[in-house]
């Protein structure tokens, strides 16, 4: 357990550095789409929600919380990517 926690901390810190490095010199017109796209990615919490909602040895409360979390996170993901795409379509012209 302790080693997995430490390994996960390594993963967290290294991924954060990648996140810092991957963004540079973004033109102002792309600020909102980039924010929106990153927001859709943060909907990754849908995976945690799926794992919680789908686990078998749950109390009903956990399943209900998981179910609501699945719905909210999916709205975040699907809505987020579609909205980003709509914004970016405007750049084609």
């Amino acid at each position: 357990m302790e080693t997995t926690l430490i390994a996960s901390l390594f993963v967290f810190v290294l991924a954060a550095f990648v996140g810092f490095e991957v963004i540079n010199k973004v033109p102002p017109t792309l600020h909102t789409p980039l924010m929106s796209g990153a927001n859709a990615i943060s909907g990754i919490t849908v995976i945690g929600a799926v794992l919680i909602a789908g686990a078998s040895n749950n109390s009903t409360v956990t399943t209900v919380m998981g179910f609501i979390a699945v719905v909210l996170a999916t709205v975040n993901v699907v809505g987020g990517f579609l909205v980003t795409d709509r914004m970016l379509q405007m750049f084609k012209k």
């Binding site: 990648v18 943060s42 975040n76 970016l88």
Partner: protein, 284 residues
Amino acid sequence: MNDLTTLLPTGIQIGYLVAASLFILGLKKLGSPATARNGNFLSATGMLLAVVVTLLDQNILNYQWVLIGIAIGSAIGVIIAKTVAMTAMPQMVGFLNGLGGAASALVAMGEFWRLVHSEGAVPLNATITVILGIFIGGATLSGSLIAVGKLQGVITGKPVTFPLQQPVNIAIAGAFFVSSGFLIANTGDQAAFFTMIGLATVFGVLFVLPIGGGDMPVVISLLNSLSGIAASAAGFVVMNNMLIIAGALVGASGLILTEIMCKGMNRSLISVLFGAFGGGGEAT
């Protein structure tokens, strides 16, 4: 040992690795006009892959709830994304961001509840990550909703201040800290657990209220970064590297973007967040 029980978990992890790479590529391409749309598509592909391989997880047995939830969420997502006006995009992003924060908080709460009821006790590191998940997720939800209200004109765009506001904020943060200590000392204490959910929500409201409506895009960007951290915290709760990686990516890139947006307005993040308290920076 080449049976399904060993192959499937490996397949899931490899799927996560590919999805994480697609997120990184997608974020990078989103930063340049020529490749942005392609970048968004890559990220969406990564997300689809991550969700599909997660469904192969052998601990998932309640498929009907999961699939119904995904179907409802997708339908709502498509409808609101197609109908929202282009001028309302910042509000829309803020609203979606709040939902993500709420989902992360719910994951932390649900896992806490499961541990209390099935194992009787909650391990210390799980308690700490649950506390983080509740605080960041709850504050992201309420803060985002206030930001949306301000952009939409439902709440006044003027900074809302009242006497002793900063001491009240500090008191709320302090109360959360004390409740956290109590929850760690008495794992599974439901009163402390619910108190903390309330405190986190109130904190998000009070944090955004004093910020002017013109600064809301910066606030939403900051809350977006926070919702990434919330996803990461949820990842530590359920011990899932995919959540930790994607959350950390959004947390860090969102923070950089927030700073870039502040620079574009010739402001500092501190003056945006605390300007209403006379902490420097011209009023908006």
